[in-house]
Symmetry: C2
Subunit: 324 residues, 2 copies
């Protein structure tokens, strides 16, 4: 079986487990939106990574399924609350919960998803439960801190590339890092093995976020991403913050207009895109994606050879080409 | 030392432990509101009950401090999010977080408090960690379900006393029940002892909520509660729902105006209050408070005699007279 097929299988196993677990229906005002978002077709990247991490250290994926689903539900909770804060209308091509229902429903169903995630995690059989809970909770705190930093980033004038790195470290990389760590803990791996997985997850998370910023600018329209959304919204991505450092004169003026969200519309997208290429920030970001992906792959090189480990390597490369 | 003094001591221990633990300050947009609400002077009822429950089964309260503080932080998280949903301006005499800052800050600092609560719980030393986490998570889910039922209760026409009981069972009683259960689990009590504590907590929680509804109508102004707030807001309390069943003719018309939030103001409060007395719902509620308090006390009668057990009994009586 090739890796693409294996990945589809993992997704299916995760989806089925989710469906088996989320059976409550009352109060409907709580569980309808929860099912709506959970079954809107996520890529299940974090739970797949968790299962693979567990298997790569010799564990049985079945013992990690509750934890995998917990991580996915937690991730969806953050999406629901982030969408309120960002006032987003759409998620995965469908209306966000606060648009389809209302804000109270979105706050409360998010909170309940957070609680459900922990309940499922509690059902994990492991003699390292305390470490598992600490990792999950530490990550949950960091995701909140990362979101607070992100909100700060969008409003403060004095923002640097360093602030951005700190933010994505917490908002994006932390949950991926701790997902693989939890997989390793369930497999009862050694300290060094778990450290290897953490390194893999952290670097993969960073690569993933740089790639996300990049795709907004250079993805093909057919890929399904609308091009230049970040530019039009003046979102302070790595590209924008780094271009602010690299440009001068007329170019910098345009970059500052984006930075200050000052009269930008779609007509500016090709101009900014050209500046990004010219000042070298596109290449720099591509190099960062490559660098962090390689670091991720290298981190788990010394783990015992197994199909799961090789699939983690495949998945890192795949994710950062975004072919899936 | 008398029980009043003991209770003050427990509160102090809890406050000090909270202060020792919540030391983060960055990002300020996240931690300032968290400290603001946590140190606004709560009564610390739930963590005190948790510590006493632990001691009543022979445990050392020090081993239960992290869990006690976790329960208090979780409770405060629910207040922050409930205040958004209820659009409340004040809490404990100070501005609510979404009023003093903004809604995003209130959503996010609430989420972070939830995560911090779990992180502290993870630091509890116990060989029954899985049960502790399950109890805490089950309670968190029920609190969300209870809040969803409460929102439903306020908008549906066809609402009964039974819907109300179901709601307070989840929204109020569940966390009190599970707080004492967790205390008992940390002390590694027997199944029967823990069941006794759960029964105590559940019934105390119910008594507490009935008393809360009652106080809105009959408390002295000097007690610090504004009288009749629930009536003016058309809040569907036990008193209102039961009066709807008990009244007829002109009285029922007035009760239905409150129920339908139809042109009610402060001038109606003494009239509704008189109806409540006349139809017997005041006495009925007082009897319920007494009934559930006695049930709570009786539930732990067979626990080994100890100062902690006796203080749990004292606290139940005290809370339901609301002298503290």
């Amino acid at each position: 079986m090739d890796y693409d097929q294996s990945y589809r299988n993992y997704r299916e196993i995760i989806d089925e487990h989710l469906k088996r677990l989320i059976t409550e229906s009352e109060p409907a005002g709580l569980y309808e939106p929860i099912k709506y978002i959970l079954f809107a077709g996520g890529k299940r990247i974090r739970p797949t990574l968790l299962l693979l991490a567990c298997e790569s250290l010799g564990g049985n994926y079945k013992g990690a399924l509750n934890a995998a689903v917990a991580v996915e539900i937690f991730h969806n909770f953050t999406l629901v609350h982030d969408d309120i804060m960002d006032n987003a209308d759409l998620r995965r091509g469908i209306q966000t919960i606060h648009k389809k229902w209302d804000m109270n429903t979105a706050i409360l169903s998010g909170d309940a998803m957070f609680a459900i995630a922990y309940k499922l995690l509690s059902q994990t059989k492991s003699n390292r439960l305390s470490e598992i809970f600490t990792a999950f909770s530490q990550s949950a705190i960091e995701v909140c801190e990362g979101q607070a930093l992100d909100l700060e980033l969008e409003t403060k004038f004095d923002v640097t590339v360093d602030d951005y790195i700190k933010m994505i470290n917490k908002k994006t990389a932390s949950l991926i890092k701790n997902s693989v760590k939890i997989g390793g803990l369930i497999a009862d791996g050694s300290e060094e093995q778990i450290l290897a997985l953490e390194n893999y997850g952290l670097n993969l998370g960073l690569a993933f976020q740089f790639q996300d910023d990049l795709l907004d600018v250079i993805a093909d329209e057919e890929f399904g991403k609308s091009i230049g959304g970040d530019i039009v919204n003046g979102k302070r991505t790595f590209l924008l913050l780094r271009a602010k450092e690299l440009t001068k004169d007329k170019d910098r003026e345009i970059i500052m207009r984006v930075f200050n969200k000052d009269g930008i519309d779609a007509s500016l997208v090709p101009i900014v895109k050209e500046i990004y290429y010219r000042c070298g920030v596109i290449e720099e970001t591509q190099n960062k994606v490559k660098f962090y992906t390689e670091l991720a792959v290298k981190s788990i090189e010394d783990l015992p050879k197994s199909r799961a480990r090789d699939m983690l390597i495949w998945l890192a490369n795949k994710l950062c080409e975004r072919k899936i």
